[in-house]
């Protein structure tokens, strides 16, 4: 039987056709970068019609987003997924915003629907340059408490205290924690695979580098409670004692 199958494989009927089709999809038009307000307001909407949003692909429209403003895509995508939606693409963003979206593996959709006024690429590089030139650095000296989120956009994050269970720290670059990490830490938030997490005492709920993560259950006991670094090695997340 197997031989038959193989011999017929050469002249198999075409397995696919390439076609174009249009779909009507819900579009989430972001009006500002206040993720907390967004979380709250979307929560209300979803509660009203949970079935409508379940497993629904959605497009994020940045046409109404303040120009030059940074969109916290990791948070946004996590938020939408949390409500059962499947965010898959972005439209109407600036170059920087699109790059950030691509880092989260979101598709950049055509600008066909854009307002003409928005597509003024000449003005865009200006706000972009200083951000690239000066990597930001965020320093936190007080404990990061349960329920708090800290995101160091565009740079490294140092926490000279503990990160409690139920708290989340994220950075586009490296994360250094000089206390105990009991919560979640996400380095290389926009896809930087060279980012690392360093911490004095690992008791984390979750560690992640560029989207590759490990939860508490999968962290070996001998790596808990000791100083470690977390990094990506050939796309595999590794945790090593320092």
């Amino acid at each position: 039987m197997a031989v038959n199958f193989r011999s017929s494989a050469g002249e198999a009927p075409p397995a696919f056709e390439l076609k174009a089709a249009g779909f009507t999809l819900p579009v989430i038009r972001l009006l500002n970068g206040d993720m907390e307000a967004l979380a709250e307001q979307i929560g209300v909407k979803v509660e009203q019609a949970p079935d409508f949003f379940r497993h629904t692909p959605v497009v994020i429209d940045l046409g109404g987003f303040p120009e030059g403003g940074a969109v916290e895509f990791p948070l946004l995508v996590g938020l939408l997924r949390g409500y059962g939606m499947i965010p898959f693409g972005v439209r109407g963003g600036t170059k920087t915003q699109n790059a950030a979206a691509e880092a989260m593996e979101l598709a950049i959709l055509g600008d066909a629907y854009l307002r003409p006024g928005k597509a003024a690429p000449a003005s865009e590089p200006a706000p972009e340059t200083p951000r690239r030139g000066l990597p930001t650095f965020t320093l936190v000296t007080r404990p990061v408490r349960s329920g708090q989120e800290i995101y160091a956009a565009g740079g490294d994050l140092s926490v000279v205290a503990s990160v409690s269970s139920g708290a989340e720290v994220a950075a586009d670059g490296n994360i250094h924690i000089y206390g105990c990490l009991r919560g979640r830490a996400l380095a290389g938030n926009r896809g930087n695979a060279d980012a690392r997490i360093f911490c004095q005492d690992l008791q984390a709920e979750l560690v992640s580098v560029a989207g590759h993560y490990r939860i508490s259950e999968n962290i070996p006991a001998d790596l808990r409670g000791v100083p470690v670094q977390v990094f990506l090695d050939q796309k595999v997340l590794r945790i090593e004692k320092i």
Binding site: R145, S146, G147, S164, G166, G179
Partner: protein, 269 residues
């Protein structure tokens, strides 16, 4: 200069009201003019613990709504002239507490009181955020068990981000940990978290350890703040906490089993 102290926890049933009653009585007994406010609108309890439930005429919400002035609503404690109670309303809900209204009342009280103790409701919703918004000091009441510790941690996060001091970038709220219902035998057998465990997680200045004690329930039922029961371990522990709050150095007690317990175990063994 008056100080506003919020007694908070996140979790319910850990001893916020007991602590509010005890600390405010302790401060008043040391000669400080003190007022204790019940922020638990709709679930009023402080008046019972303070033993003034029969004397409530007007309440906090009346004052906020200009239906009564402060002097009409404040109840003077019969045991201590320096202590006043501002009861919560039992018939309203927490939305009656407005930021402006609470601010105005606290402002007025700070003219004539040294300490304003705010007894926060459980949870992290409106009532609790109103109780802590204007605070200078926070006493985070925590039981030695994981859910209480996590809720306290959450509350500490809110204190450092949503208070007036945080919003105006003033010096942060001074946070103190008060460990209540501390049951030494259960800690030693590993059923409960130890002082060290809790401090490791919360990394806070320890204001006191209040041992699990029958005296607390007895005092609550009698409407007497437990700090007045000088014979009881809990009463003494609260008195120590008041001293520490006022800057005295008092060694922590009730962290290990009493000698009697030790000998008991020796002989049993």
């Amino acid at each position: 200069m008056s100080r506003i102290i919020v007694i908070t926890s996140g979790k319910g049933g850990v001893g916020k009201t007991t602590t509010s009653a005890a600390l405010s009585m302790g401060l008043a007994q040391r000669g400080h003019r003190t007022v204790v406010i019940d922020f638990d609108v709709g679930l009023r309890n402080l008046d019972l613990i303070m033993g003034c439930e029969r004397r409530v005429v007007y309440d906090f919400v009346n004052v906020i709504n200009h239906e009564a002035n402060l002097n009409q609503a404040l109840i003077r404690d019969k045991r201590c002239d320096n202590l006043y109670v501002l009861p919560a309303s039992q018939t309203r809900d927490k939305e009656a507490l407005t930021k402006e209204g609470v601010g105005r009342v606290l402002d007025e009280l700070s003219q004539s009181y040294d300490f304003i103790v705010c007894d926060s409701p459980a949870g992290i919703e409106h009532g609790a955020t109103m109780a802590m918004y204007y605070a200078d000091d926070a006493v985070v009441v925590t039981n030695p068990e994981v859910s209480s510790v996590r809720d306290s941690d959450r509350m500490l996060g809110i204190l450092s981000s949503k208070s007036r001091r945080a919003e105006t970038n003033a010096e942060p709220i001074r946070e103190h940990l008060l460990l209540t219902r501390y049951d030494v035998p259960r800690v030693e057998s590993g059923e409960m978290l130890s002082v060290k465990d809790v401090q490791d997680i919360l990394s806070l200045d320890l204001l006191g350890i209040i041992p699990e004690s029958k005296a607390v329930l007895t005092a609550s039922n009698a409407g007497v703040p437990v700090i007045l029961d000088r014979e009881s371990d809990a009463g003494q522990a609260y008195a120590d906490a008041v001293s520490r709050y006022l800057g005295e150095e008092v060694p922590h007690r009730f962290m290990t089993a009493e000698k009697k317990g030790f000998f008991n175990r020796l002989f049993r063994g």
